[in-house]
Each structure stands twice: as structure tokens, then as C-alpha cells.
């Protein structure tokens, strides 16, 4: 079994040939697929893709998806100057600059010109007397007739300040005009000189909206859109140095993420590759191992990418970032093979491979279990990373097993570096009473942790997001300036008919009006603002008719006129369907989600919720209302993160038990010697992170899962080839490159990946240092 015993190896049989050829066919197929893949660019840059789906409320998940889908291609630009005339002229320069080059992919939506007021008035005209704002409804219901008459007379004799949308006779209280004013008050922007204008922060802003055209992003690493916007701004600034630009939009975030990811993939991927190849060169002093290890990594990554693409349809950017760290893990198998070759130059490559296989398969198995455990979480991103990693490792391993013995012809040169690394194992101390000692250390660590006050659990979803900060700040600023509702929290209203949905929205809005009065929010937006339920249209119509009659009577008495309400029957109610067909509905149309499985759904969104403390009251407003669900996206995801942190911790413990059981099957009573280094290292990592006040989150737990998968390998190799300096050489080189990969992953700007990287960067060297301590204390070799 060990490399020290000379063995007469049998020549490679047909199985070896078949395996090598079969694997060649697979690799060729993958090569073809890769060529197609990069030609069609199946990279997914959707920033939401990493976020988990809400498996508990599929209707909420669907609603969120629809909402996100509607705005995934829109970009809003606010261009500001201290004078409106400057802003107006600047907009023309900005447009002109943007119309050329990369900016041409941004097609402007002519929002300021699109809505025809006359058409809108014409559409609503029949229901003129059946539409009221909440304030009007309260006023009409609570004001005595005499006061209504008084107000009408007062308005008549004051100078004409308010424009009217109709003759006095058809609307003596000016209700129709106010209703439209309330519709307009849902946003701060107003048309002015053919543009949208808003004044804020002492600036006059022009609002421009664009839709991104064409396919999703190519992974070029260049901020094309941002570049185009900045160039346009620079041209504006050449003329108006004080001009300002604020931007918002999913495409900008996606692009920033793509640029960031591109940089990270290159740094981690190429950095690791260079490190691995350098280590291989130092250890083996021959180009052949360097080239072959390179081949195994290339095949591993290509197969992983192809299988992931076939499995998921698209490959997410962050999968590639994480996948780049695979280079540092997948090299283990090739390195291990060459290290053994160096130790047993007399053996035939196939014979050596046969001897190495048990350890290699066991190492691959434990790593695969650990990576697959990542995929148990309902995070689509993590699932992809798990599949990518397991497939990549397996492919690299198969390349080593099937091809290396055939391609590795000739002898291994002697390397002084390799020898000196291998010799360190001899000098490494052994822990005489390792079992009681390590158990005591474990207990002490646990106690210390308890004394430190336990882990600082942190499940805030913001840990997950890596939107670059200036972009997020700008996004918020745009929302504030325009007074737009936030998509983070909303109500989902459902019913079995549009009328029922509208009625339920209205019940909810009645409750929200009370919260608006308490200044917990500024306002809300819903379809029922535009299309009240038939029930409400009827009751409002009655209120208006009664008030008008009273006003006519009073004015007739005071001024000797003879006004009377025309006796026309009420029109059929305005319907959502009719409204949806009108251009006026464009703005609120996204709120109507339509029918799904016999259920009609709409969203009610909130404006001006600035204080997180108002969220419980808002959540409470939905309570007891049938068909109304409060959706707090960040809270929901944070709760999910917490749930997974807890269940993943349980799974981690179970994983340790399973790995120990697997080791038991192979090593019997010595199994703990391969297992304990990883346990100790994990505990130290937890202790160190806690001591430094780092937050403890799901991703740390997942990283410990990986530490189990990767760290156990070192124990296995050392147990399998105890006191073999060449096994030790393989472990050291493997650990070095793995450490480099995850260390580079620790540079990632994505907090989740950073947590992975840091945890492993800390844990891996610990396992490496500890593993030789746990070799059997006897000098006699046990088999």
C-alpha cells in the first residue's frame, strides 16, 4: 500500500484505455459547448439572483418577481443645475452626447410628452362626480350644508386662483380639480417646458428616463453604461461646471457588479493559477507536472462551467467569482500524484495511480459532501456554486486518474525544495496524548466562547448585497427627490374578482390614512386610487350629489340664481380593464398584477417611509384584513438567513459525524486522528472571529462546512501515507495553493464571499499545522 514497498506493477489494462478515451470524448464535447457558451454569453448578472426565493409564500415571490421584472431595464437620470434654464439647455447637450456610442443602447422614454391630459380627462369625464379623495370624502361627510354653501360662495368671490377643469355649474365645489391634483401629488416631478422638472437640494433637476436595449451584459469588465453617462456629464460640465447628475436603475447596478466580478474572477482565478503553477514548478522542477496540473484545472473549470450552464440555463457572475477559487482546491489531486511519483520513481504510473486512488476518492468524496451541503440552502446562487464546485473537482480528479498515467512519461527530476519541504515532516512533533489533550482543548475553547458571550449572530440581508455604495446612495437620492415609493416594503392584495381586490385595497387604505395622519408615512399608491371599487364609486357619487344639491340650493337663495342638478342616471362603474387600456394608466399599471389561477392581485406601495420604527404599525395595518399580505422584503430575507444559519449549523455538526463515520470505515480506531485537526481549527476560527467582534453569519457556517471538506483531506493523506514526506509535500503544496485561492477570495467586495474567504484563510493553515501533530505517536508503522 505504501510507496516504500517496491511493487511489480501490471501493465495498464483495457479499462485504463477505455477510461482515458471516454474522458477525452467528454472533454471534446465540453470544448464544443464552451465555444457555444462564450459565443452566446450565458452569464447572469441579475443582482437579485443570489437572494433566496420565499418558499413559504409563493404568491409573494411571484409578485416580487413581476415587480422586479418591470424595472430591470430602466435607468433614471436626474440632471441638475442651479437655474432651470441651464438645466434645460444641459439636457439637450446630455441627450446629444448619449445618442452616440455605447449610450445609444439607452433609449429615452419620452415621459414628459407621452401623457395626454385631454385624453385622460375625456376618459374619466363620465365618472366625474363619482371620484373623491379620502380628504374630500371626509370633508363632504362631515361638513354641514351651510358651511358647504359658505365655501362655495367664498370661492366665487375670491380672485381666480384655482384653475378649473370644468364649469362652475358642473362642479361648484371644485372636487374634480382637487381629485386630479391628488393624483398628481403622488410624485414631485412636474412637466415644464417639455421636460420633467423637480426642484430639490437647491437645484433645478430635469428628469430623464431610459430603457436599456439589447442583450444583457457582456463580461467585458468595462463600465460601458456608466462610461457613457459620465462622458455625457463631462460634456455638460464643460459648459455648466456646476451641473450635477444623479442616476438610478438596475442596469447600472448590474454593470457595476459585472465590472467588479470581472476583476475578482481575474484576480482570484489567474492569481491562484499562477500560484499553483509556481508551487508545482518549485516542487517538481519539471515542465511536465506544471503543464499537466494546468490541464487538469482547465478541464475541471470548463466541465464545471458547461454542466452548470446546462443545469441552470445561465451561470451567475458570483458563481464564477466563487468558482475561481476552485483552482486552489482542484489542483490537490494532480499535485498528490506527482508528489507520490517523486517518492516512488521506480513504479509505473498506472500502478502508482491504482495505489493512490483510495485516498484520492475519499478526499474527493468528503470535499463533494461539503460543497453539496452548500447547495442545501434555498439560495439559487449557492446551489450553482455547489454544483459548479463538485463538478469541477470531479472533472479535475477524472483528468488526473484517466490521463495523467498515460501522459506522464519519463522520470521525475529531483527537487531540493521538495526534499526540504518533505523533510519538515520528520522534524514535526507528535502530540503524545493527543486524544485527551485535544478533547480538553475543545472543551476549553467552548468554555472561552461561552465566557466571551457567545457568537454575535448577524442575519441582516444587507450583508448579502454588494451594490457599490455611491450607487446605492444615488438610488436613494433619486427616490427621495422624486418622492417615489420604495419597493422594499409593500402590500399584496388578492381577491377572486377585480372588484374584491379594489374593495380590500380601500379597506387597507382607510387604515393607512390614520397612519398618514400620524406621519408614519407620506402616502401610498394603488390601483384603487385610479379606479375605486364600484361600491365606493356608488357611495362617493351619492355624497357628491347630496352636497351639490345643497350648494345649489344655498347659492340660488343667496344670489337669486336657479341652478339645479341634471337628472341623469349614474353611469356603469369605471373598470380596471377599461382603465388599463388608457395611456393614463401607464404609471400605475405595474401595480396591477392581473389574474393568476383565478385570483386577482395588486400591489399597494408606500411613499415616504423613512423610519424603520414605523414598519410594525404598517405590518399591523394588514392584520385581520382578508386577502391582504404585508411584504417586508429585507425582513423576510433576513429571517430566511437566520433560519438557514441555524439549520446549516445543525447540518455542519451532522456533517462532522458523517465524515467521522466515513473515516472510521477506512481507518478504524485511528479515524479521529484525521478528523480532530479540522475540529480544532474550526473551533479556533470561531473563537478568533468572535474575539475580534466579527459578525457571525450563514456564510461563516458554510465556510466551516468547506473547511470540513478540504481540511479533512490533509488528515486523510497523512493517515493514508503516514510519515511519507511525499504525501506531506503534496499536502503542503495543496494547502498553500488552496490558501492562496481563498485568501484572494477574501478580497472580494461581496460580503458573503469575503466571509468564505476569510474563514478559510484562517482555518486552512491551522489544519495544516495541526494535522501532523495527530500522527500516531509510535515509531512503528501501522497499516
Amino acid at each position: 500500500m505504501t510507496a516504500h514497498t517496491p511493487v511489480q506493477d501490471a501493465p495498464p489494462g483495457w479499462l485504463w484505455r477505455t477510461a482515458a478515451l471516454a474522458w477525452l470524448l467528454v472533454v471534446i464535447a465540453v470544448g464544443v459547448h464552451q465555444w457555444q457558451f462564450w459565443k452566446h454569453d450565458g452569464i447572469d448578472t441579475d443582482v437579485m439572483a443570489l437572494l433566496p426565493v420565499n418558499e413559504q409564500a409563493p404568491d409573494v415571490a411571484l409578485a416580487t418577481e413581476q415587480l422586479v421584472g418591470q424595472m430591470s431595464r430602466q435607468v433614471v437620470v436626474l440632471l441638475g443645475a442651479s437655474e432651470w434654464a441651464d438645466a434645460l439647455a444641459a439636457v439637450q447637450v446630455f441627450r446629444q452626447s448619449l445618442a452616440t456610442g455605447a449610450g445609444a443602447r439607452l433609449r429615452e422614454d419620452p415621459i414628459a410628452q407621452k401623457t395626454s391630459m385631454e385624453a385622460a380627462l375625456g376618459f374619466y369625464q363620465p365618472w366625474r362626480e363619482r371620484l373623491l379623495t379620502p380628504a374630500q370624502r371626509a370633508m363632504l361627510a362631515g361638513t354641514p350644508d351651510a358651511a358647504l354653501v359658505q365655501k362655495a360662495l367664498q370661492d366665487l368671490y375670491q380672485p381666480a386662483v384655482q384653475a378649473r377643469l370644468s364649469d362652475w355649474v358642473s362642479d361648484p365645489l371644485g372636487l374634480w380639480t382637487q381629485w386630479w391634483a391628488a393624483r398628481g401629488a403622488q410624485s414631485q416631478a412636474r412637466p415644464r417646458d417639455g421636460e420633467l422638472w423637480v426642484a430639490a437640494d437647491g437645484q433645478q433637476w430635469a428628469v430623464l428616463q431610459f430603457t436599456l436595449e439589447g442583450s444583457a451584459f457582456r463580461l467585458s469588465g468595462e463600465p460601458v453604461l456608466d462610461g457613457a453617462l459620465q462622458t455625457a456629464l463631462a460634456q455638460v460640465r464643460a459648459k455648466w461646471p456646476g451641473a450635477r447628475m444623479v442616476t438610478a436603475g438596475v442596469p447600472l447596478h448590474a454593470e457595476a457588479a459585472a465590472v467588479q466580478a470581472n476583476w475578482e474572477i481575474n484576480t482570484i482565478g489567474w492569481g491562484s493559477l499562477a500560484g499553483v503553477l509556481l508551487l508545482a514548478w518549485l516542487a517538481f522542477r519539471s515542465l511536465r507536472p506544471v503543464a499537466l496540473v494546468g490541464v487538469s484545472l482547465l478541464v475541471g473549470c470548463a466541465v464545471a462551467l458547461s454542466v452548470t450552464a446546462l443545469f441552470f440555463g445561465q451561470v451567475h457572475l458570483l458563481t464564477l467569482v466563487f468558482g475561481a477559487s476552485l483552482v486552489g482546491v482542484a489542483e490537490d489531486y494532480g499535485i498528490h500524484y506527482f508528489a507520490s511519483r517523486q517518492g516512488a520513481p521506480a513504479r509505473s504510473p498506472h500502478g502508482l495511480m491504482r495505489a493512490l486512488m483510495p485516498a484520492l476518492w475519499l478526499a474527493l468524496g468528503t470535499s463533494a459532501i461539503a460543497y453539496l451541503a452548500l447547495g442545501a440552502a434555498a439560495f439559487p446562487g449557492l446551489r450553482q456554486m455547489a454544483v459548479f464546485s463538485v463538478v469541477g473537482l470531479t472533472a479535475a480528479m477524472l483528468t488526473v486518474v484517466c490521463w495523467f498515467p498515460w501522459l506522464d512519461r519519463g522520470s521525475m527530476p529531483h527537487s531540493p525544495v521538495a526534499q526540504s519541504i518533505g523533510q519538515t515532516l520528520m522534524a514535526w512533533p507528535r502530540w503524545r496524548h493527543a486524544l485527551p489533550g485535544s478533547v480538553a482543548v475543545c472543551v476549553a475553547m467552548a468554555l472561552l466562547l461561552w465566557l466571551l458571550g457567545g457568537l454575535r449572530a448577524q442575519d441582516d440581508v444587507r450583508q448579502l448585497q454588494n451594490a457599490s455604495t455611491p450607487l446605492v446612495a444615488q438610488q436613494r437620492q433619486v427616490g427621495e427627490i422624486l418622492g417615489l415609493p420604495s419597493p422594499a416594503q409593500f402590500y399584496l392584495v388578492q381577491g377572486n374578482s377585480p372588484e374584491q381586490v379594489l374593495q380590500r385595497e380601500e379597506e387597507l387604505k382607510d387604515r393607512l390614512d390614520a397612519l398618514v395622519a400620524r406621519q408614519l408615512l407620506v402616502g401610498y399608491s394603488g390601483v384603487s386610487d385610479w379606479v375605486p371599487s364600484a361600491r365606493r364609486q356608488d357611495s362617493d357619487g351619492e355624497l357628491v350629489a347630496r352636497a351639490q344639491e345643497a350648494v345649489f340650493k344655498g347659492v340660488n337663495a343667496e344670489l337669486g340664481e336657479s341652478f339645479a342638478r341634471p337628472a341623469t342616471p349614474p353611469p356603469a362603474p369605471i373598470t380596471v380593464q377599461a382603465w388599463l387600456a388608457q395611456p393614463i394608466s401607464a404609471a400605475a399599471r405595474p401595480l396591477w398584477l392581473g389574474e393568476c389561477d383565478g385570483s386577482y392581485r395588486s400591489l399597494l406601495m408606500l411613499r415616504g417611509v423613512t423610519d424603520l420604527a414605523s414598519l410594525p404599525a404598517l405590518a399591523g395595518a394588514a392584520q385581520g384584513l382578508e386577502g391582504v399580505a404585508w411584504v417586508d422584503k429585507p425582513a423576510e430575507i433576513s429571517a430566511l438567513l437566520q433560519r438557514y444559519r441555524i439549520s446549516m449549523t445543525e447540518l455542519l455538526l451532522l456533517g462532522h459525524v458523517l465524515v467521522l463515520a466515513a473515516l472510521w470505515l477506512r481507518f478504524g480506531r485511528k479515524a479521529w486522528r484525521a478528523w480532530m485537526p479540522t475540529v480544532l481549527a474550526s473551533l479556533v476560527v470561531v473563537g478568533v472571529l468572535t474575539a475580534f467582534g466579527a459578525p457571525w453569519q450563514l456564510f461563516n457556517v458554510l465556510a466551516l462546512m468547506l473547511l470540513l471538506g478540504v481540511g479533512i483531506d490533509y488528515g486523510i493523506f497523512l493517515q493514508e501515507h503516514e510519515d511519507d514526506p511525499h504525501a506531506w509535500l503534496a499536502v503542503v503544496i495543496g494547502a498553500g495553493s488552496t490558501w492562496l485561492s481563498f485568501g484572494l477570495l477574501g478580497l472580494s467586495a461581496t460580503p458573503a464571499l469575503k466571509a468564505f474567504g476569510l474563514t478559510l484563510m484562517l482555518g486552512l493553515p491551522l489544519v495544516l499545522v495541526l494535522a501532523p501533530l495527530f500522527r500516531s505517536a509510535t515509531d512503528n508503522k501501522e497499516h
Binding site: M71, I111, Q154, W180, Q188, P191, S525, L559, A587, A588
Partner: protein
């Protein structure tokens, strides 16, 4: 990534509100030399005082009414502060226009209408325009209107036509007459209603009287 979809609503709201409040601002294109000359001449005549006060008579013709509506009262225009329009006959009411708000009170002092610029951004423009009309602030007026007119020995008269089509949907024209002060304002609405306001015994003062100052609080 929020709110982008909602900008469309913005546009819409915008269109609506502009119409509802009749307020839009138009950037002045460079005035013709003739118009500039006219404005310069009128500016020379107008008494630019911090406070102008006086009485008024208003004759309003509203479609559907057999009789024109007559009212009278007094007013104060204070530079930088706003306008108080106090109707005394036939029903008492007070309209206070400040740069960032508009309030109307009944004879009992109870608030009947209130608009704030923080809710309705266009209000600022409307109020600036009203102020410009009442104080014959020609620079401001020329921003919103196409100005023609003449200057004679006994006074000047200006004919103002809104530049912005949205404003024009409501307001057809404004006629201003005056000498040292504005003497007559005629608002011609696009729907056919019209108001004729005559300013009586205007006087210029250097500061607000205490009781007036309270109105602007």
C-alpha cells in the same frame, strides 16, 4: 433599484397638477428689443415699494350665472412676503398667498383651503406669478407671458399671453393697466369666465403694519 417604474407616474402626476393648478413656468426666451424696451419703460414708471396696500373692486363673470359677481375689499402686497386679499363684501373671506403656501379663511377665521408647496411644488411658481401680477414685477412676468403693450403719458397697459400651452389651456390672457401702481387687472379664462379687478387708492409703505404682519405669520 427601486423606484424607477414610478417615474412614469411622475410624468402623469406632473401633467395633471400643472393643469389643475394652472401653474407652469416657462423659461423666457430672449425678449425682442421692442419688448425689452417696453418693459424698461414700464419699470421706470412703477413705484417699487416694499409694501403696497389699497382697496379693490372685483367683477367676475361666470358662465351659468345671470348676474356678474361683484365683490370688494382691501389688500396688502408685501415684497418677499406675499399677498393678503381680504374680501369684505358680500361675504367676508381672506386669501393669504405666501411664497410657499396658499390659505383661504372664512369669515369665522376657519381654514377652508390650504395648499403647501412641499405637497404641491408648482404652487411656488403660481404664487410667484400672482405676486408678479399684483406688483407689476416685469422680469418675472416676462418669464411666463408673451408681453405686448404701450406706454403713454397717463399710464401703461400690457397684454400678457401665457407662453406655456398648459397654462394657456386655463388662462387665455391677462390685461394689466397702471401707472405708478397697477390699476386694473383683467383675467380672461379660456373657458369664457373672466374677472376684472380694479385697484383703488393704492399707497406705498416702507413696512408692514403690525396687524398685517400677523397675517403672514
Amino acid at each position: 433599484m427601486s423606484a424607477i417604474a414610478w417615474t412614469k407616474r411622475t410624468a402623469l402626476g406632473a401633467a395633471l397638477c400643472a393643469l389643475a393648478l394652472s401653474a407652469t413656468a416657462q423659461t423666457a426666451p430672449p425678449a425682442t428689443p421692442a419688448a425689452q424696451d417696453l418693459l424698461a419703460q414700464v419699470r421706470q414708471r412703477v413705484h417699487d415699494a416694499p409694501v403696497v396696500r389699497g382697496g379693490f373692486e372685483q367683477l367676475k363673470t361666470v358662465k351659468g350665472f345671470k348676474q356678474p359677481l361683484r365683490s370688494s375689499g382691501d389688500f396688502v402686497v408685501a415684497r418677499g412676503k406675499g399677498i393678503v386679499w381680504h374680501v369684505l363684501k358680500p361675504f367676508e373671506s381672506t386669501l393669504v398667498v405666501r411664497p410657499d403656501s396658499l390659505q383661504s379663511r372664512g369669515s369665522d377665521g376657519k381654514l377652508t383651503t390650504q395648499m403647501r408647496a412641499q405637497d404641491e411644488p408648482v404652487l411656488r411658481t403660481v404664487n410667484a406669478m400672482l405676486f408678479a401680477v399684483m406688483s407689476a414685477n416685469l422680469t418675472e412676468l416676462a418669464q411666463h407671458f408673451e408681453v405686448t403693450g404701450q406706454v403713454a403719458a397717463k399710464g401703461w397697459s400690457l397684454h400678457l399671453v401665457p407662453r406655456d400651452p398648459t397654462l394657456a389651456q386655463w388662462l387665455a390672457a391677462v390685461e394689466l393697466q397702471g401707472n405708478q401702481f397697477v390699476q386694473e387687472v383683467k383675467l380672461q379664462e379660456a373657458r369664457g369666465d373672466s374677472s376684472l379687478i380694479r385697484i383703488l387708492t393704492p399707497v406705498a409703505e416702507n413696512a408692514l403694519r403690525p396687524q398685517d404682519a400677523a397675517q403672514f405669520e
